[in-house]
Every structure is written in C-alpha cells, then in structure tokens.
Amino acid sequence: MQKSLIRGVQGRGKFIIGGMFILAAIIYLIVSATQSNAEYFMTVNELRSKGNSLVGRSLRISGAVIGDTIQYDPLTMNLTFDIAHVPGDNAAINMGGGLAAVLHTAVTDPTRTRLTIIYNGPRPDLLRDEAQAIITGHLGEGGIFYADELLLKCPTKYQEGIPSQVVNSN
C-alpha cells in the first residue's frame, strides 16, 4: 500500500518535472523573443528625450514629412528626409483641429523637434510635404533614424484623417 503510493508519486513526479521543464522552455522562448523583438511606437519628442538608450532597438516613429528636405537618388534608391514631431494621441490631434491641421503646424513650426530618416528603396508616391510618415526601423549613432519600412498617409487623400497607429492603439 505504502509502496504503491510512493511508486505512484514517483511515476507522476517525472511527468510533472518533465511538464515543468517544457513550460519553463515555452515561457523562456516567449519572454526572450518579446524582449528582443518588441517594436515600440514613439513620437519624435519621446525618441529625442530617451536619446541614445534606444540605439539598436526596433522602433516605430510617426511624424510630419518636411517637403524641402526630401532627397532621392533614383539610381541608388537612397532616400533621406526629415520629419517633424506630431503628438501621438488622438485627443491631442483633435484638439489641434484634425490631422491635416496638426501636420501643417508641425511642418511650418521651426521650433519643432526634427528627425532625419534614411531609407533605401523606391520613393513612395505619397512622400510629399505635410504627409504623415509612419516609419519602422532603428535609431543609429548620431541621431539618424534608419528605416526598414515606410508607411505614408496624406490626410487629403484619406478622409478619416486619423493616423493608423492611433486608431489601432494595439
């Protein structure tokens, strides 16, 4: 009786240990993959205030495109441009009179924080003055942002006028 009980516990014990081991492995995988691959949404101001602590991290930045700064070489497909800070949350954008107005003030206001973007690839059609850019990439040394992906929205073209990262606040 006593013996069989012990054996039962032992028998189950190895499965419990095995199960714990697998559970620990899964948790480890999730935690480490989340830490190394999480992509942070940020405004230009937030990026500047955090400074170099963000170098190398995967980031998603939103800002207003400053038309005069766009430089594109069609042969090498090298593209650089500056973006100006726009507030990240919906309420602030509505306060500022909608996205088009907010983008316009951002571009015309010389005191706004700016960020230089470098991208290699075809120049997007929608990349123009006062467009909203949503850029995925990482911050390099010297405060230049290296983009892997560009997403552009023109409030005139998209009547909803709310940037996608605000709607999809996930």
Binding site: G8, G11, R12, K14, F15, G18, G19, I22, A25, I26, L29, I30, S32, A33, T34, S36, N37, A38, E39, Y40, F41, S58, R60, P74, L75, M77, G88, N120, G121, P122, R123, P124, D125, S164, Q165, V167, N168, S169, N170
Partner: protein, 673 residues
C-alpha cells in the same frame, strides 16, 4: 421585392433555429421522442430555406442589383460572372451568410444519420448546432443585413436600410464599386470557403462533446462518431491556410507567404488546437486516457473558431484582411464568453467521470510522446495568442504602445516547430504502455544513421547555417523513419502472409488507413518544411531602378529590362507591364512580365509579380508601383526564394495523405458497430 423575400427567409430560419433549441431541450427533459423529432425536422428544414435565401443573394449579385448596398459594394458591371458569384464572400455580410449556410448543411448532414443507438446525444447535438446557427443568423438579421438597399434621406445623405427612413427616396446606382482587386484571384475563390468549411466542421465534434458532457457519457463514443468530421474539418482548415499562403504569395507582391499578421495568426490558432485534438483522441480510443484534456481541446477549438471568424471579419486589427469593418465585435465577444464559460462549467461538473482508465507509466511510451506533442502544440498556441494580445496588454499596463512582428513568432515558434518535427520522427517508433530508453534506442539507430549522414553531406556541400542544418536533418529523419515504417510493415506482412512485397504494402496501408495516411501526412509536413526552411533561411532580395536594356543580378541570375507596355484591359483594368529576360550563365531562360493593374472604378492598385518557378528556387520580380514609372526607367524589386515550391508540393501530398486516412472503410466500420 426579392430583398424582402431574402431577409424574410433568414428571419424564418432564425425562428426555426430557436424552435429547434427549445424543442430539443424540452424533448430531452420530458423524455419525449416527439419533441426531439420535431427539433430534428425543424433543423432539417433550415438548410433548404437558407439555400433559397443565399441563392436569392447570389441572383441579386449576378444580375447587378446595385440598389442593394451589399451588391453595390462587392460587384460591378465589368466583373466576370464567376467573380460575381464568389462576391458572396467578398464582404462581411455575405461571409456571414456563407457561414450560416455551411453550418446548416453540416447540421442537417449530422441529423440525417441513424440515431437509434445514440438517441440521448441527438437533442444536445441539435441544441449546440442550432445555438451557433441562431447566433450567426441574428448577426445577419440585426447587424449585417446583406439585403439592405440604398435610400436618400431628406437631408441628402445616402444610407443603406432595409425599410425606407421617413421621407427618403429609393436610389439605384448604375454601377457598383466592384470587388477589391486583391480578391480577384482564383485562390480567393477557394480560400475563404475552405477556411470556413474547416471552421464550421469543427462545430460538429464540439456539439458531440457537449452532448456527451450533458448526458454523462464518459466513454469515447462521441470521438468515434465524429472521427471523420474532425479529420475533414482539420483538412479543410489546412487547405484553407495553404491557399491563403499561396494567395499572399501570388497577389500581395511582397515575395512572402506568411506575415504573422493577427488575422493569419488567429486562423492558425484553431488549427493548432485541432491538430493537438486529432492526435490526442487516438490515446483516448486506444488507452482510455486524456479524456478531460480532449474535452478541453475541442472546447478551445470551438472558441478559437468563433474568435477566428470574428477577427477576420471585425477589422479590430489592421491587416491585409481588413476589408470590412463593422460593429459586431461586442456580439462576438459576448458569444465566445458565454459558450466558453458554459462549456468549461460542464467540463468541471463532469471532471471526475472523465478520469483516465490507466495511468501513464513510462516517459518513453507512445502516449508520453503524444502528450509531449500536445504540450508543444499548446506552446505554439500560447506564443500566437501572446503575440496577438501583447500589444493590448502592454498598453493597458504600461501605457506604452508596443507590438511584436514576424521575428517574434519566428524566434519563439522556431524551436517548438523543430521539437515537433523531432517527435514526428520518434513517436512512430515508440511502443504503447511500458517502454524504456533502451527499447526506443534500438528502434532509433537505424533511421538516425542516414539522417546524420545527411547532415554530414550538407556540411560537406558547404551548408553552415545551423538552423538550416538542424532543420534539414530533422526533415531527413522524419522521411527515413516514415520509409522505415512502410518498409518494415510491408516486409513483416510479406513474410507472414506470403505475399509479394508491393501487394503486402498495399494491403497493409489498406487495412490501417488512418495510421499510414497519418504517416503520409507527416511526410507532407516535412516536405512543406523544406520549402519553409528554404525561404526563411536562404531568401535574398535586391532592388534597383533600371533603364531599358540594363541588368540586375541576384543569386547567379541576370535579369534584363527589355520594355514597358501600358494598355487598358477589357475588364476595365489599366495594365502597366514590364518585359524582362532572365539569363543564367549567359543563357536565356525565359521572359518574365511583372505588372501592376490599376482599377479606375475603385482607384485601387494591384501588383502582380513575374515569377519563374522551379523545384530549386523561385525568381520573383515586382514592378514597384509606388513611384511614377516612366517608359525609360522603372524600379524593380527582385526576390530569390529557394525551395519555396516544396511548400506547395507538400500541400498536394498532404491532400493525398488525407484521402488515404479518411477513405471510408466499410468492413472496419461494420466491425465497430
């Protein structure tokens, strides 16, 4: 007129579904066969009625009744006939109609079977299927009416309504907006129905599971009765997923097949629990174990099926699937919550009755490996679930907007998929019940040697990427184990029955269809893994703006830009098409025609890649439509995707394996009766 008729039909079927639920419950508790029979008949009546309603909608779509808002939003005059028919599932409202239609067809098929032996289960099967059906029908009637028509209100606004708002005038547009160009693809005709067939078919085993829980049948009858349903559901879901990959590869023009976008991930989740279920029910049938676990898996699968339908159709997450947005989200959440909690409560109520009949003893037994398989599938599920909800949690807790992309899923799921492949190789060699490391080792060394030899050869050939080395070794391992299983099974039968080896093999597979069909499916999975490893590890890409006559190089290929043509197509598209020649070692291999189509009606663009596909690799060229292309120069993006074709070859093998496993075996079924 037809519209009123159509929605009237839906209203009628909704009432019939409610009646079925009531009559079945009443029949069960009063032990009255007449009530149960009434429930069954009303259930059987629903399918023809929904068919009439769905055909009415298809008729409106095909004949261009643009006064109906749904018809207006998904069809246009320039669309070919077959696309007008398939526009049924081109939008939200129509997809829900398709769901209900399939659900009623499956429910009818189930209620038509002979029920003498399982009389007790029938009422609850009817209840579960009817409740599900009633939920989807209520969405159609209350929120997503495909028959609503256009009205112009006194204020001048255009609104879709079933009945005229006060003072409004009926409006009939001349032409519709047309189906989203991305959906005008042969893959799109089959991808959603396949996925839905899979989704809906999983409701049937769930219904039987709930019926077994309510009536207190703790045996495995519900599993035996729904064995084929489960397999069919799983196969359709799998085919649906693969077709989705193929569509993404052909149409989205980014050179990939799977982006881990929340909607894709959500449709993968029921597949994961379904696959785990498919494996673990075998343990219950063979050993009387895992009963509670199987219940939990099917309950989870059902919840994930509804969650998947909800995600694909709610626009909660922005993705390539965000074709339609709607307010039915809260309804879905409520329905998932209520059914999930009720099911769990039932399971807890019956928890003690569902104890295992024997205890698992050995870590090296086959049941232990099935358990491990299940844990790993749940692991992948948790990773996927975390990836989908992490952004929501993160913002709630820290206020910081964070998201995780494909690298997260690849890194977290990669090792789990690798472990699953290893088990796929080891498990067929294990024995039931008592088994030790020694006995397993004796089985293992034969297929292990050629697998390790494969690794050495790959190393010798210059493969240095460790992920690829591990991956291809595991692929080789599973292939050798499978061949070994067929070979040793055939040989022992050859000796025992004195048959020719091939005849013996044929007989062996014929008599153990589920087992050997399963092995063929395993084989197809690793063949798919070859394609996935190829593209994930070895894909290269390059881009360049080319003037006419200029070259671009990738992976030993040279592509020359010859010319550009722009012309209107007969169906209203405006086509911009480049002509490129592909060379290798100075030899012309053929021409590619990457293009993009502009749809003036909707103002949408569609990129169609030029693809040269071989067993070794795909050359995938995209004419980038972002920048204004001129006749002198155009920007191109080129992908080199090694081995990707094996993904599609594997999926065809997969269907073959399924046919072997699911082909009806009359003798065996008779024996089991």
């Amino acid at each position: 007129m037809l519209a009123q008729f159509g929605i009237g039909m839906f209203l009628l079927t909704f009432l019939l579904a409610l009646f079925s639920v009531g009559a079945a419950v009443a029949g069960y508790f009063s032990k009255s066969d007449r009530w149960v029979e009434a429930a069954r008949r009303s259930m059987l009546l629903i399918f023809p009625l929904i068919t009439v309603a769905a055909l009415t909608l298809i008729y409106l779509l095909v004949t261009g009744h643009y006064e109906i808002e749904y018809v207006y939003s998904v069809t246009s005059n320039d669309m070919p006939f077959y696309l007008k028919v398939t526009a049924l599932w081109g939008g939200q409202a129509g997809s829900l109609v398709l769901w209900s239609w399939l659900m009623s067809a499956f429910a009818s098929a189930v209620t038509l079977r002979k029920w003498e032996r399982d009389r007790e289960l029938l009422p609850w099967v009817i209840v579960v299927t009817s409740v599900t059906l009633a939920f989807f029908l209520s969405l159609t009637i209350l929120y997503e009416n495909p028959f609503a028509r256009w009205w112009q209100t006194t204020a001048g606004d255009f609104v879709p309504r079933m009945f005229a708002p006060a003072g409004a005038v009926a409006i009939t547009p001349m032409d519709g907006q047309g189906l989203n160009p991305l959906l005008r693809h042969p893959g799109m005709i089959v991808h959603p129905p396949m996925l839905y067939l899979g989704f809906v078919a999983f409701v049937i085993p769930y219904a039987f599971a709930i019926a077994a829980l309510v009536t207190g049948h703790s045996d495995d009858r519900w599993i035996r009765l729904t064995r084929r349903w489960t397999l069919v559901a799983w196969v359709f879901l799998s085919i649906g997923l693969v077709l989705g990959m193929r569509w993404a590869y052909d149409v989205l023009g980014w050179g990939g097949y799977w982006a881990w976008d929340p909607v894709e991930t959500a449709s993968l989740m029921p597949w994961l629990t379904g696959t785990a279920f498919l494996h673990s029910v075998m343990i219950q049938e063979k050993r009387g174990m895992f009963k509670q676990w199987n219940m939990l898996l099917i309950i989870l699968t059902y919840a994930l099926v509804i969650f998947g339908t909800f995600l694909t159709r709610s626009g909660v997450f922005s993705s390539v699937h965000a074709f339609s947005q709607s307010a039915i989200g809260p309804m879905f959440f409520a329905f998932i919550g209520i059914t999930f909690v009720t099911s769990l409560a039932l399971l807890i109520y019956r928890w003690k009755d569902l104890r295992a009949e024997v205890e698992m003893r050995s870590l090296f037994s086959r049941e232990a490996f099935f358990l491990l398989n299940n844990l790993l599938f749940m692991g992948v599920l948790i990773v996927c679930f975390w990836g989908v909800i992490f952004p929501l949690i993160s913002e709630l807790v820290t206020g910081q907007k964070v998201t995780v992309g494909p690298p997260f899923y690849q890194r977290a799921n990669g090792p789990l998929f690798g472990a699953l492949m290893a088990i796929m190789g080891i498990a067929p060699l294990t024995a039931w019940g008592r088994s030790t490391a020694g006995t397993l080792g004796r089985m293992l060394w034969k297929p292990a040697i050629p697998s390790l030899l494969t690794t050495v050869i790959l190393l010798f050939l210059g493969m240095r990427n460790w992920i690829a080395l591990i991956g291809f070794t595991l692929v080789a391992f599973v292939i050798f184990v499978t061949i070994y299983e067929f070979w040793s099974g055939g040989r022992s039968r050859e000796k025992k029955v004195k048959e020719n080896f091939l005849v013996a093999l044929w007989q062996l597979v014929g008599r153990n269809r589920r087992r050997y069909g399963g092995y063929l499916i395993h084989l197809s999975m690793v063949v798919m893994a070859i394609g996935i490893l190829g593209i994930e590890v070895y894909r290269t890409t390059t881009q360049k703006t080319l003037a006419v006559g200029e070259d671009i190089q990738i992976a030993g290929y040279t592509l020359r830009y010859n010319s550009l043509a722009q012309f209107p197509s007969t169906d209203g598209r405006f086509v911009t098409r480049a002509n490129m020649s592909v060379f290798r070692d100075g030899k012309l291999l053929g021409n590619l025609y990457p293009r993009y189509d502009y749809y003036p009606t909707s103002g949408q663009m569609m990129t169609v890649a030029g693809v040269r596909s071989t067993l070794a690799d795909d050359l995938y060229v995209v004419l980038v439509n972002w920048e204004n292309v001129s006749l002198i120069q155009a920007p191109f993006k080129v992908y080199h995707n090694p081995l990707i074709n094996w993904l599609w070859i594997g999926s065809l093998m997969f269907i073959f394996g399924f046919l072997v496993a699911a082909w009806p075996d009359r003798e065996k079924e008779k024996r089991e009766e």
